[in-house]
Symmetry: D2
Subunit: 210 residues, 4 copies
Amino acid sequence: MGELGNVSSIRTAMEKNQYLLKSQYALNIVEAKCKIIDEEMRMKYGREITRSITQRIKTPESIYAKLVRKNLQTDFKTACDKLNDLLGVRVVCLFVDDVYELAKLLKQQKDVKIIKEKDYIAAPKKNGYMSLHLIIEIPIYFDENCEKKRVEIQIRTATMDCWSVLDYQLCYKKNMADTAGIMEKLKRHSDTIAAIDREMLTIRNEIEKI
Amino acid sequence: MGELGNVSSIRTAMEKNQYLLKSQYALNIVEAKCKIIDEEMRMKYGREITRSITQRIKTPESIYAKLVRKNLQTDFKTACDKLNDLLGVRVVCLFVDDVYELAKLLKQQKDVKIIKEKDYIAAPKKNGYMSLHLIIEIPIYFDENCEKKRVEIQIRTATMDCWSVLDYQLCYKKNMADTAGIMEKLKRHSDTIAAIDREMLTIRNEIEKI
Amino acid sequence: MGELGNVSSIRTAMEKNQYLLKSQYALNIVEAKCKIIDEEMRMKYGREITRSITQRIKTPESIYAKLVRKNLQTDFKTACDKLNDLLGVRVVCLFVDDVYELAKLLKQQKDVKIIKEKDYIAAPKKNGYMSLHLIIEIPIYFDENCEKKRVEIQIRTATMDCWSVLDYQLCYKKNMADTAGIMEKLKRHSDTIAAIDREMLTIRNEIEKI
Amino acid sequence: MGELGNVSSIRTAMEKNQYLLKSQYALNIVEAKCKIIDEEMRMKYGREITRSITQRIKTPESIYAKLVRKNLQTDFKTACDKLNDLLGVRVVCLFVDDVYELAKLLKQQKDVKIIKEKDYIAAPKKNGYMSLHLIIEIPIYFDENCEKKRVEIQIRTATMDCWSVLDYQLCYKKNMADTAGIMEKLKRHSDTIAAIDREMLTIRNEIEKI
């Protein structure tokens, strides 16, 4: 056995039982919900709310790596039971107050069950990561059955989204001894980003008062 | 008042209350359901099932014309109450038996309520029109509410679909006196089409026996 | 070595030098050309011209199988030199006269070079296959360079397109001894299809005269 | 005459001669070029280059407003002659050095003719607006003819892109007396944004050195 064997057995499992098609279906529903809220808020405030709404199904490689990192058994069944982010939707807003209003409107919907909520904007991760995370569950109807599908929704501002690109690059560096200095910079950069977002909000509010 | 006034007041009504966005959402769900069934059947039989799955929201012009034809009041509220085909999905299959199996699998789904079913394949319309029509209702969740959305699903073979193009062209001709002869031909053409579809099925069944 | 080895070395070669992205680019240009002609003709005749325009990049499996069938060396370089259908666009028209007019308008374009033309409608293949095939070459600009890309365009009616599905199914049957009877039926079915298309045309012309 | 009359006569002119379809074609080619460069750079540097590539055809309303602002005659012919941004592609990069490299690779392409280049990053507009603008011309082949199509390409970082949203909001405020204070803040905010982009670059370069 070995890494490749496991990645490829996860891939094989994902190709069965219409996993991909059903996941796509669930993601499309969540994306549609976000778009409807986006339009609702756009009408209400007369300005742009989101910059992009994207979706992804976690790849076999990425599932395998996460299972290893979490010391879990490296099979797809375990992934389905234990990982909350197999299906993900990312919403990038322009202003930080919109992040919270969009989340609130999503949580109100009757077929959306909130499994977990983490506010990494109010309390950023140690490395500086900021984002609002919702793990939700929605019912999806196929055949005669109804399946519950869990989806992780990350809502953040465009500037937070820029920061996360640097963090992602750093993740792929092995030589951890050398990264301490950079991690410190990245953390401070995250504080600057938060300040930028507050400034954006202040200016926007002043413009709206004119 | 007059025709234009009414068409444009229907258009205005359609632009309110996120009618278009919510309708799009409902159509996407129905289209996704059809695609999942398509894949299921493709796996089961090892061959192509549908040639295309398309959707449309009825235009204000077309709504107005239908209300007039049916002697109904020409406003959008009446259209929503009385017309079943404001939202439509068309599924074009290759073989006539697949039309029925696809419909059966759709009807089994727990969130799909069948409002009406018309089998214009077993009993074509007088002019020769063939198609299986399902009017369904599905629940769509927005905000804190759940709306029922009615969708007309037309399922037919690719050859029936070709026939309907001629019929559609004829509809737009006013001079009805001259159309009698053509209507007769169109009706006979529809019989030939039905024969073609039976032949398609026979040959396919023989191929599958090899 | 062996079949899998070759398929996978073809796949590897296809992932290099931006083959897929550049091929996509070429296909999009050809598809756009077809759509513009479609609209032009739709305006001119006031009716629908095409039912669908699709594109595909030939898969490694399919390339390998064709090279074997043609007794050629089974590597990607040979495929690029000898096969004309690595990139394909299929245009499905409703009426057979539109097939020819669309082809004519495509051939007139200054950046389209015709490499080969085969009229399998006037002279169907032995098995009954009908379609108009154009092999064209168009210049695609990347970097500082210009590459010539060959694309096979198949133009046919929707009824011919239905026939080809049966033929495709038959292709995958190995037991050729048993297929003789069916091939005969398929050939006769192709004649019926041609008759249907002529009838479509006749009725359409009569409708247009009203 | 009057505003509405002119907007609608511009709209009518845009619906003729396949202006929309041909413009779409030109935009798709430019977008494809940007995507190929994006992939090329992504391979070379092993990291994400662009965050989004979008396109738009200027609306009749927006064309009319711009003609008025520039004191030009308000018809579509004048717009085609005098305005360079009827067709626009916007490329949002993550890092400011990528903005310049992407532009360089685009300018090298043999079928791209550079009409004008404005570097509003090196020298921001008075209000703080930052972006690299290229006006290019590409040949598009239709029928027997070849048309030159002008496209404005705006290349900027994601943070610059955020800034522009505020600026856009301010544009729609009439009461200019009150905007002076805000414009000052917006200008300073633009300086902060430029500093953020430099910091992003510094951190990225340090990460890449590990």
